[in-house]
């Protein structure tokens, strides 16, 4: 059931990206281009999404556990550290270059858009590069066992 729930959530999330036109990177760039002919639509997407999600999270806090899982898995980190800042800067630069963030880029694969596919493949490589030191660091300990 938890897998079906995730499928439906992903579907609704993607429909939201399509309806709001956030699947179009030109629409994202138009929001980010303050000095051009600015399109504030992305701010409206946030204004629509954040309160609805907040209601959901408030309801979740009143429940002992999710319907189809054992526990609520919430982020445990709280510090604003160099990793958070550096990561956000790198992400922001990439987002500004292409107008794609992970959600819309993955969804745009569904309409067979080649630019989205190139972006997502490179994104997966970027994610793997980040995991590389962790995977290498894990190797010696696994050989001891």
């Amino acid at each position: 059931m938890n897998i079906l729930a995730a499928l439906i959530s992903g579907l609704i999330f993607g429909l939201g990206l399509v309806v709001s036109q956030m699947i179009d990177p030109a629409k994202i760039i138009a929001f980010l281009d303050l000095a051009g002919s600015w399109d504030p639509s992305l701010a409206c997407v946030m204004a629509g999404a954040v309160p609805v999600a907040a209601i959901g999270y408030a309801l979740a806090r009143r429940r002992p556990r999710p319907l189809f899982a054992d526990t609520f898995r919430l982020p445990v980190l709280s510090a604003i550290d160099a990793r958070l800042i550096g990561g956000a800067v790198l992400f922001g630069v990439g987002w500004g270059l292409a107008g794609y963030c992970p959600g819309p880029a993955v969804a745009a694969i569904g309409i067979g858009r080649p630019s989205a596919l190139i972006f997502v493949l490179a994104m997966l490589v970027g994610m793997a590069l980040h995991e590389l030191p962790l995977l290498l660091a894990r190797r010696p300990s696994s050989s001891e066992v």
């Binding site: 959530s9 939201g16 709001s20 399109d39 504030p40 990439g94 270059l97 970027g126």
Partner: protein, 141 residues
């Protein structure tokens, strides 16, 4: 503000919020796309199914929308493969380093009033504003 579409943006945003609310209430998870995908690298085997299902739903969404008679106009933005690849690398590495993207930090983080989410959102927004200003108005224009 020629192409401002506040109604469809609010409605679509509402759907995104609903998806995030459902994923938390049903599966106890944050709907952060970069975390769902990137987190798979370190996830246990029984933790992979819901991640794959979410991504399949995300990719299926435009197809379902199209099958229901919706029209998705092609994007007017055309970028070189090199720019797309560079942007993808930055987004992939950056979102793992900073533990989140637009969905995890901005939508879910702000909905939880997470200090890290709000800070990350502010920082990546400024970085993106600056990047677009540089690439669209200073270089090449």
């Amino acid at each position: 503000m020629a192409n401002f579409t506040p109604i469809s943006a609010l409605a679509g945003g509402g759907l995104i919020g609903l998806a995030a609310a459902l994923l938390m209430l049903l599966d106890g998870r944050i709907a952060g796309i970069s975390g769902i995908i990137g987190g798979a690298a370190r996830a246990a085997r029984d933790d992979l199914g819901w991640r794959a299902a979410f991504v399949i739903g995300l990719i299926a969404a435009p197809l379902v929308y199209g099958a229901a008679g919706g029209d998705i106009p092609p994007t007017a933005l055309s970028l070189s493969p090199a720019t797309l690849a560079a942007a993808g690398l930055l987004v992939g590495f950056g979102t793992r380093l900073g533990n989140g993207c637009t969905s995890g930090h901005a939508v879910c983080g702000m909905a939880r009033l997470s200090t890290r989410g709000v800070a990350a959102t502010f920082i990546f927004m400024v970085a993106a504003f600056v990047t677009v200003f540089v690439t669209h108005h200073l270089v090449g224009g």
